[in-house]
């Protein structure tokens, strides 16, 4: 009875300060269920579907399409049918009056920032977010990524779990010394990182190279893994797209890197200027380029994965979920077929190699229900 809900500009990741409505998925008058896509939100980094946090009827589109708005700004109003237009006008007026006041304040102190931990001489950066009972959720990004790869995923899971996203060595804010750089050496560094953080066991969510690392940790020491969620994983088959790997390693300019990054997505227009800039910046840090070259040489030389762990899957006694984009152009989705165990395999339509960015809402829902 009479409930009015503000839909505000979401914050995708630490760096987002403003965004715009690229298009509306729900017209005025539409009945909306919590979890329905209501709009596409475009930032300078990526465009992403925005899910409704509420049930109700879409009553107003407050944001103009393509208007740049700060995070937290009112973009739409939902309410039940019995709320009058006058009440909605008053709601908007009072929201806008308060929002202007809030906006002139300093940066919110509650903002979570990444930390670093020393792991036998290596500095490892991680972002610790949320609290909950049971083992924390640990995110391991793929080749060339960093903890920001989980910008749509980590906050969603942090509502109910302690979550930790880390930068692999050679990536993001972590040391560029990658050691032997093979999957088990990287797995050892991740295990040591968790030991340094006093985390004996975790639910692992790994993407691509990070998924192979998570799998390797679980196989080597089953007590460390409570479950595995493997997203477009490496380590389940031989093939990997050499054009992508070699292009990513070689490209040091925007124009060269853009088409390489577009291979990651089913919809190449999702790649925005800031995503390219962030990756170029990461690659220009001293030692980063050498680290990527070494990881690529050791693990993915000439389009072939060195470590294939699929045959060892039956050794695992923990729940395993595999999520893959149907249009993955980096690692073929066929690797998810004919696995020697009954893992739950979810193949998502309209997604390339990055389902957690391209189909963030579906991936979040799958992870949340899997972890329950």
């Amino acid at each position: 009875m009479g409930e009015i809900n503000a839909i505000t500009m979401p914050k995708f990741g630490l760096a987002m300060t403003e965004g715009k409505v690229a298009s509306w998925a729900k017209p005025i008058g539409a009945v909306v269920k919590a979890g329905d896509d209501i709009a596409d939100i475009e930032t300078t980094k990526i465009t992403n579907a925005f899910e409704s946090p509420f049930n109700g009827i879409m009553r107003r589109h407050v944001a103009t399409v393509q208007d740049e708005l700060p995070v937290g700004a009112l973009i739409a109003v939902m309410a039940s049918a019995d709320v009058s237009e006058d009440e909605i006008d008053r709601f908007i007026d009072s929201f806008q009056a308060e929002f202007v006041n809030a906006d002139t304040g300093e940066d919110k102190a509650s903002e979570v920032e990444p930390s670093t931990v020393d792991v036998s001489g290596r500095k490892i950066r991680y972002l610790d977010m949320g609290q909950g009972a049971g083992p924390p959720v640990v995110f391991i990004h793929g080749f060339g990524g960093d903890l920001n790869s989980w910008l749509f995923t980590q906050p969603a899971l942090a509502d109910h779990h302690r979550t930790i996203a880390l930068d692999l060595p050679g990536h993001g804010g972590s040391t560029k010394d990658v050691g032997a750089a093979d999957i088990s050496a990287l797995a050892k560094i991740v295990s040591d990182t968790l030991a340094a953080l006093a985390i004996p066991s975790a639910h692992f969510v790994g993407h691509s190279l990070g998924a192979a690392i998570a799998l390797s940790i679980a196989l080597d020491d089953p007590s460390r893994a409570a479950s595995l969620s493997l997203i477009s994983p490496a380590g389940l088959g031989k093939e990997i797209n050499a054009t992508f790997i070699d292009g990513f390693v070689a490209s040091d300019r925007r124009k060269a890197l853009e088409p390489v990054l577009q291979m990651l997505f089913a919809d190449p227009s999702l790649v925005k200027r800031d995503m390219i800039d962030d990756l170029i910046k990461a690659k220009r840090i001293d030692g980063a380029s050498e680290a990527l070259t070494k990881i690529a040489d050791v693990n993915f030389k000439d389009g072939t994965q060195t470590t294939v762990l699929a045959g060892r899957l039956p050794e695992l006694s923990i729940p395993v979920q595999i999520i893959w984009g149907e249009e993955d152009r980096v690692i073929p989705v066929a690797h998810s077929q004919e696995l020697p165990v009954a893992a739950t395999v979810r193949v998502l339509a309209d997604s390339g190699h990055m389902p957690h960015m391209e189909r963030a809402a579906e991936v979040n829902a799958l992870l949340i229900s899997f972890l329950q």
């Binding site: 208007d67 740049e68 990444p114 910046k281 220009r284 840090i285």
Partner: protein
């Protein structure tokens, strides 16, 4: 990664390279102690405190306070560079370069060429430039076009704290003489700057805004002015490419020409005096190589051809601002090609 000022980013770049390479030394007026400061060694750290703390870490042997003679210590730095060190010479204000033109133009810039490629001169000369600091005519100029004119010199004009750190590390590691210009109005500006060392290559323009309607090429602090104008214009439906060439020598002509080919309209924002500056140089490039792509005359947003005024109200009028850039963009958008008579 954390937020750092432009000043702090420069200090970090110098400190990290001095730690990495024992041949890197720093010299200049007041870079260590600051003459006249009472007692302690690191009282000042350069005229605006940019090199504060370096003498404490690296000692008097590598952080050298020089006499008040630019001709002497720039010459000494060029010689040191030619004989195995990597000096960073701080010249305080670019306006003082006049007294050491021979050392820069005839010596440092010519060594590689005149010694048949056998000599390298890994010298960085840092200096402040730019108006808006209430520092009057002799401490406010933008003399980078003069150095850009000289073959054998590289000229760098960083536009933000992130840029200044990566470009300065690149400059220190470069084997040629580099004129490295810091806009003093920007020293307290803050942005995300990685703690790690990183480099930004010379001769690669940075696209700071993307749009199909107009290309804006801007230098140094003018990049911020151009971004501000582009953001305002985007709200009015006019979308601009903003290009920061980062270095005027080498100049990324390819990217400038590509952007102009895409948009067909060009506005150049240059804080240097309007005759023979970077705006005229880029104009000539585009007129010669991309004339057919132009849908409107090129517009230059520059100060008037006068010394920088000391009166604050006049100085504020002197420096190009976002309003002027916005007007220039609108004027090229509104330009109609005349029907054939």
């Amino acid at each position: 990664m954390s937020k750092k000022s432009y000043r702090q980013a420069i200090n970090e770049a110098i400190a990290s390279e001095m730690r990495r390479d024992p041949t890197v030394i720093l010299m200049g007026e007041d870079v260590a102690g600051g003459a006249g400061a009472p007692g302690d060694q690191d009282a000042w750290g350069g005229v605006l405190g940019v090199t504060k703390g370096l003498v404490t870490e690296f000692g008097r042997g590598r952080v050298l306070d020089t006499p008040l003679s630019e001709s002497a210590y720039i010459g000494a730095a060029a010689g040191a560079a030619a004989t195995g060190l990597r000096p960073i010479a701080e010249l305080m204000f670019i306006d003082f370069m006049g007294v050491c033109f021979d050392q820069i133009f005839n010596q440092a810039a010519k060594f590689r060429y005149m010694f048949g490629g056998h000599a390298v001169t890994p010298l960085v000369i840092r200096a402040m430039y730019g108006a808006g600091f209430r520092a009057a005519s002799q401490h406010s100029q933008c003399l980078y076009p003069i150095f850009t004119h000289i073959p054998g010199l590289k000229v760098v004009i960083p536009s933000s704290a992130y840029e200044v750190k990566g470009l300065l590390i690149q400059a220190i590691r470069d084997n040629d003489p580099v004129i490295f210009l810091e806009n003093k109005v920007m020293y307290d500006q803050v942005e995300e700057v990685p703690d790690e060392t990183y480099t930004i290559p010379f001769g690669e323009a940075n696209l700071t805004r993307e749009g199909d309607d107009v290309t804006i090429v801007a230098f140094g602090r003018m990049v911020q002015i151009a971004n501000e104008a582009a953001d305002r214009l985007a709200k009015q439906g006019i979308h601009c490419n903003v290009l920061d060439p980062r270095t005027t020598s080498p100049l990324d002509a390819d990217t400038i020409l590509q952007c102009v080919e895409e948009t067909g309209r060009l506005v150049i924002v240059d804080e240097a005096s309007p005759r023979c500056n970077m705006a005229t140089d880029v104009s000539a490039l585009v007129a010669q190589e991309a004339f057919g792509a132009l849908k409107a005359p090129i517009r230059m947003v520059c100060p008037p051809h006068t010394p920088v005024p000391f009166a604050p109200n006049l100085e504020d009028l002197f420096v190009p601002n976002a309003d002027r850039v916005e007007q220039a963009v609108k004027s090229v958008m509104g330009y109609k090609i005349r029907e054939n008579a």
